[in-house]
């Protein structure tokens, strides 16, 4: 009887087990797939950098001219100046005001989700925030164009709005778009504060708000800054929604209530009107290079912040 089973077992055993090292094909294939992104970064960086310096290398524009305050790229209307300062300052200005508008709301929302919301409210908020992120930026732009801009034009005369197309309109639309990003990153950093610290604080006879204000916010400082930087990064890269409401005037930004422009908006507008090899076109690539430099700097900043926040 026993030997029968042994024979049967031997029959179903598929083959001899080999204990020998071989080439792990799966490891190689998946490794290659994972490394694609490294190649893409390298390729992208090379292309943007190479095309971005064509303005200096090919057209001989002095590097420092980039920091000039005047943008006059059209050779048919006189002396050209490829000053990118209006765009750089425009981007920084629009993004900063957007962050200032979005930060209080986003942090409040993150605190609500992390500390206050009962389970049912969290179940409502989470999908809602996903929808918020998911709405395409052109839709936000179209909303800004058809609702916000006319509203500002009609009701903002006293503040100095003329057409409604303005720095402020751009910042407001961006603030709305980055709100979910900032609040979700801030939420994660609030959740990362160990729950027993909250309990310890409450056991000392403090209120929930005191615990938030004096324990939670200081403890997640680096996370909050990270959230805002990531939000600003997203805002700086946003093109179409901003372009639709900002007025696109390539001047050094002076008033919140007047049209300005950004790097992304100008690329969006001019790319189709220029031809490769033209100096004007090369200046657009230089704008792209500036944008990539800015966003890479933000990534490095976030890395430093997370490292600081990491080991508690």
């Amino acid at each position: 009887m026993e030997s029968d089973i042994a024979t049967e077992m031997a029959a179903v055993r598929p083959e001899r087990v080999v204990l020998a090292p071989g080439i792990d094909v799966a490891r190689r294939v998946t490794g290659a797939a994972a490394t694609v992104v490294v190649l893409l970064v390298g390729l992208l960086l090379a292309f943007i950098a190479w095309n971005g310096i064509a303005l200096f290398r090919h057209s001989g524009v002095p590097i420092l001219e980039v920091f000039a305050p005047v943008w006059q790229p059209d050779p048919t209307s006189g002396e050209t100046t490829y000053g990118l300062l209006p765009f750089i300052l425009g981007t920084l200005g629009v993004v900063s005001v957007a962050a200032a508008l979005a930060a209080p709301l986003s942090l409040g929302l993150a605190l609500f989700m992390a500390e206050v919301a009962p389970p049912w409210a969290r179940r409502v908020m989470q999908p809602a925030m996903e929808v918020f992120v998911g709405i395409p930026s052109v839709v936000y732009g179209w909303l800004g164009l058809t609702v916000l801009v006319p509203f500002l034009a009609a009701n903002g005369k006293w503040a100095g709005f003329t057409s409604g197309f303005s720095w402020f309109a751009g910042s407001l639309v961006l603030a709305l778009m980055i709100l979910p990003t900032v609040s979700s990153v801030a939420y994660d950093s609030f959740r990362a504060v160990p729950p027993d610290l909250r309990t310890a604080s409450l056991a000392l006879g403090t209120t929930r708000w005191q615990t938030i204000r004096h324990l939670l916010l200081p403890a997640s400082g680096a996370g909050i800054v990270t959230a805002i930087v990531l939000g600003m990064m997203r805002a700086a890269g946003e093109a179409l929604a901003v372009q639709m409401v900002i007025g696109n005037r390539p001047l050094i930004p002076r008033s919140l209530f007047q049209p300005v422009t950004t790097l992304t908006a100008q690329i969006t507008l001019d790319m189709g009107n220029t031809v490769a090899g033209e100096t004007w076109n090369e200046a657009l690539w230089t704008m792209g290079l500036v944008l990539v430099t800015m966003s890479f700097a933000a990534v490095v900043l976030v890395r430093l912040l997370t490292r600081r926040a990491g080991p508690r």
Partner: protein
């Protein structure tokens, strides 16, 4: 102070009652976790809660400063009277109660800030803002928690998280003392500590009881025998709800308990 596992004689004398518990029942949603607890906790003495895991002793302890309010679905019935006042009465603010009743946790949980700021945290929140007053309360509390000598040179700068586990726990006790409590609840305060750190905390408990009413939950029977004046033994009923089997002077509970279950437990026959 020499240290030996003695059973203090003071336990038998009748101190005034600090906390009076009547027909306490605690449930989570529909499940009853603790039932039928009647207990008088004497002032300026150490009362130990012992019993097998899951018998609800920590749950009861946390009721005394209403930390169970923070657990969704938890509800408390019956009466807990502290200094003649019902703590679950509608007018009582948990925030005020928790200043009067301090809690020390199982795991040391200092805030990620300096030692000074840890201790000053409570007083600051309760409206103490003058530098001198804060300095004083911080120093007094650190002294009372027997950690002052170890940290006095750098307590303003040093991050509390760089302290050892035992030091962190004493810091947490200092932090709690700084809010001026009358009752101290300790929820297995030594379970995360090594024997030497445990000894320090036990010494501290004995020192503190002259000024505070202390309740301590412990798994460690020797600890209960060493530090407490009275001991309450809880266990799990057949209905999976915890209840108080008996309570009395520690010496009596450990040498001549009234109930068979207590005898078995302290003799190490179950739990």
């Amino acid at each position: 102070m020499s240290y030996a596992p003695t059973i203090p004689a003071s336990a038998e004398s009748l101190a005034p009652t600090k906390i009076r518990v009547r027909d306490l029942r605690i449930s989570y949603d529909t499940r009853v976790a603790v039932r039928d607890v009647n207990l008088d906790v004497p002032e300026h003495a150490v009362t130990a809660f012992i019993g097998p895991s899951g018998c609800g002793k920590s749950t009861i302890l946390r009721c005394f400063d209403r930390m169970n309010d923070l657990i969704p679905g938890a509800s408390v019935h019956g009466s807990i009277v502290l200094d003649g006042e019902e703590i679950n009465a509608p007018g009582v603010q948990p925030v005020e109660l928790r200043r009067k009743v301090g809690l020390v946790f199982q795991k040391p949980n200092p805030f990620p800030m300096s030692i000074y700021e840890n201790v000053a945290y409570g007083p600051r929140r309760h409206g103490v803002s003058s530098r001198a007053a804060l300095d004083e309360v911080v120093e007094t509390s650190l002294r009372r928690a027997a950690i002052w000598d170890e940290v006095k040179d750098e307590y303003r700068r040093k991050n509390a998280l760089s302290l050892s586990g035992g030091q962190q726990q004493r810091l947490c006790i200092a932090r709690m003392l700084a809010t001026g409590p009358e009752v101290i609840l300790m929820d297995e305060p030594c379970s995360a500590l090594d024997p030497i750190a445990t000894l320090r905390i036990e010494q501290l408990i004995t020192e503190l009881k002259t000024q505070y009413t202390i309740l301590i939950v412990t798994h460690n029977m020797q600890q209960a025998a060493r530090v407490s004046d009275r001991t309450a033994f809880f266990t799990l009923g057949d209905d999976r709800a915890g209840y108080l089997v008996e309570e009395g002077p520690t010496r009596m509970i450990f040498t001549d308990p009234a109930n068979r279950l207590t005898e078995d437990y302290v003799a190490g026959r179950f739990g």
